[in-house]
């Protein structure tokens, strides 16, 4: 039976001429592009993580608050926002920072002492925008910047990665569609032969064998082409991305494995489903 499948499958392939390898390469294109896209998506992972890091938002408390009121305010905020880590910046440290940023203040600070400064509180959080609610708080004099460069870069990288995943999904859908149409047309072309073979007493395995061989051979070609194209394209893109400071890596073996499974599995699954539908239509 295997000999029959191989012999008849080879005849089917030969009768198709160059169409089978062309279809195989057409299937390899979306699968390779998907592999390349997933690899690039992996390179972006460290950049995306920047957006998930904690940010520190500084706020200034109103100078009219005395020590007890400040402590009460801090306790209330810690209870209301358990995701915040609040820390008071000591007056001496604040004075030091201000003197660094604004050297002309040094003299005033020396004269008046750091006690004249309002209390600064640093809030460590993953959601710096959430700190903006304190703008309405009468105990708060000012809220510092709530966005960081890291967060902006991380957010942009995340959006870009999402776009890449959408591209991968579209490419895989394209590959599935191509495989299904290819196999369906192939079987439709031989529908009469299949029907005659069944009427002559051929078993399902005998009928399906040659078609599965005829589909498997170009599918293996598509798998090989996908792997080679992906490795070459990712190597080329890594060289381009290196000056951007991205940590690039070669193609993951898992991606290559998934590509082989996809290139062989998709057309084979389409062949099984279509042959099953032909068989059911005979009932």
């Amino acid at each position: 039976m295997i000999r029959h499948a191989l012999a008849e499958g080879w005849l089917l392939l030969r009768s198709r001429g160059l169409i089978s390898p062309v279809l195989a390469l057409a299937l390899a294109i979306p699968i390779s592009l998907a592999g390349v896209t997933i690899s690039v998506r992996q390179w972006l992972a460290p950049v995306i993580e920047l957006g998930d890091r904690e940010s520190v938002v500084s706020i200034l408390l109103h100078p009219r608050l005395d020590g007890a009121e400040r402590r009460t305010w801090m306790s209330e905020q810690a209870a209301t926002h358990p995701q915040w880590q609040l820390a008071t910046v000591e007056p001496d440290e604040l004075a030091e920072r201000l003197a660094t940023w604004f050297p002309y203040l040094e003299e005033i600070l020396d004269r008046e002492g750091p006690e004249m400064l309002p209390t600064m509180v640093e809030i460590r959080t993953r959601d710096p925008q959430g700190v903006l609610v304190l703008k309405e708080d009468l105990s708060v004099l000012a809220v510092g910047p709530t966005s960081s460069v890291n967060q902006v870069v991380g957010r942009v990288a995340r959006q870009f990665a999402l776009m890449l995943i959408s591209v991968v999904v579209a490419l895989i859908a394209g590959a599935v569609l191509l495989a299904a149409v290819w196999v369906h047309l192939e079987l439709h072309r031989h529908a009469e032969e299949i029907a005659i073979m069944r009427l002559m007493g051929a078993t399902e395995a005998t009928v399906r064998g040659p078609f599965l061989v005829a589909v498997a051979a170009p599918a293996l070609l598509a798998a090989a082409a996908s792997v080679v194209c992906t490795v070459l394209a990712v190597g080329f893109m890594a060289r381009l991305a290196a000056p951007l400071g991205l940590t690039t890596a070669g193609v993951s073996p898992l991606i290559l494995f998934v590509q082989v499974v996809g290139a062989v599995g998709l057309p084979m699954a389409a062949a099984f489903i279509t042959l099953e539908r032909y068989a059911s239509a005979d009932d």
Partner: protein
């Protein structure tokens, strides 16, 4: 060999067979005749399980055909040699390949398959065309290839649907003699035809099908 009880077959509310009852013993030779549209081809299609009856029971070679699972169909069909009205030859295969490929389903080795196919083709006068593709053959030659394919594995039951439709009188007579030989060797033959000359050339049990029922069952001419 064949037992049919109350078989009906409807197509789009049109009743082709109406409660047909029939019994054909092993080794019998039966002609099936009747006007066009009487249901001859439909009856044969039910026998080789190309279709299922709308109701009723059909038994062929010990198997109940109307309830047979798809996986059991090949086994039934290997017991039946069918000669189709429209030949049903594989267009991309040569005459010899068309005849030998069915032997593969029976597990017969290639050398033996070629030997048997050549013998049948020679008997049908087609051995010199064994390398030709069906499209290069005349209608009569294609008919003979279809006949060779049905006979090559010596089935226990032969169903022939208008097998002489494309043959001249001499070839039709030769075919009938071939089917008689096979019947003599023990095979059951059911031959659907509306060729009255053919019916009259051989006294055999004849079923006349009219409007989906058996109108006459006996020797021909009545």
């Amino acid at each position: 060999m064949i037992r049919i009880r109350g078989a009906t077959k409807d197509y789009d509310r049109r009743q082709i067979l109406r409660g047909l009852d029939l019994s054909v013993d092993a080794g019998e030779m039966v002609f099936l005749t009747g006007p066009s549209g009487a249901g001859k081809t439909t009856l044969l299609r039910l026998l080789y399980a190309a279709e299922r009856p709308t109701s009723g029971e059909i038994w062929v070679a010990g198997s109940r055909v109307d309830t047979l699972a798809r996986s059991e169909l090949p086994q039934l069909r290997r017991k039946i040699g069918v000669i189709f009205q429209d030949f049903k030859l594989l267009r991309r295969k040569t005459v010899l390949e068309n005849v030998t490929f069915v032997l593969r389903f029976h597990g017969i080795a290639q050398r033996e398959a070629h030997r048997r196919a050549y013998r049948v083709l020679k008997r049908l006068g087609l051995h010199h065309r064994q390398s030709a593709l069906p499209e290069a053959l005349s209608g009569g030659e294609q008919q003979r290839v279809a006949i060779a394919r049905a006979l090559v594995y010596q089935p226990r039951l032969i169903l022939a649907d208008e097998p002489t439709g494309n043959l001249d009188a001499d070839l039709a007579s030769e075919l009938l003699s071939l089917l008689c030989d096979i019947n003599y060797q023990g095979a059951t033959v059911v031959l659907a035809t509306h060729d009255h000359a053919l019916l009259e050339s051989l006294p055999a049990r004849t079923l006349v099908l009219r409007r989906g029922v058996i109108d006459y069952d006996g020797m021909w001419p009545p």
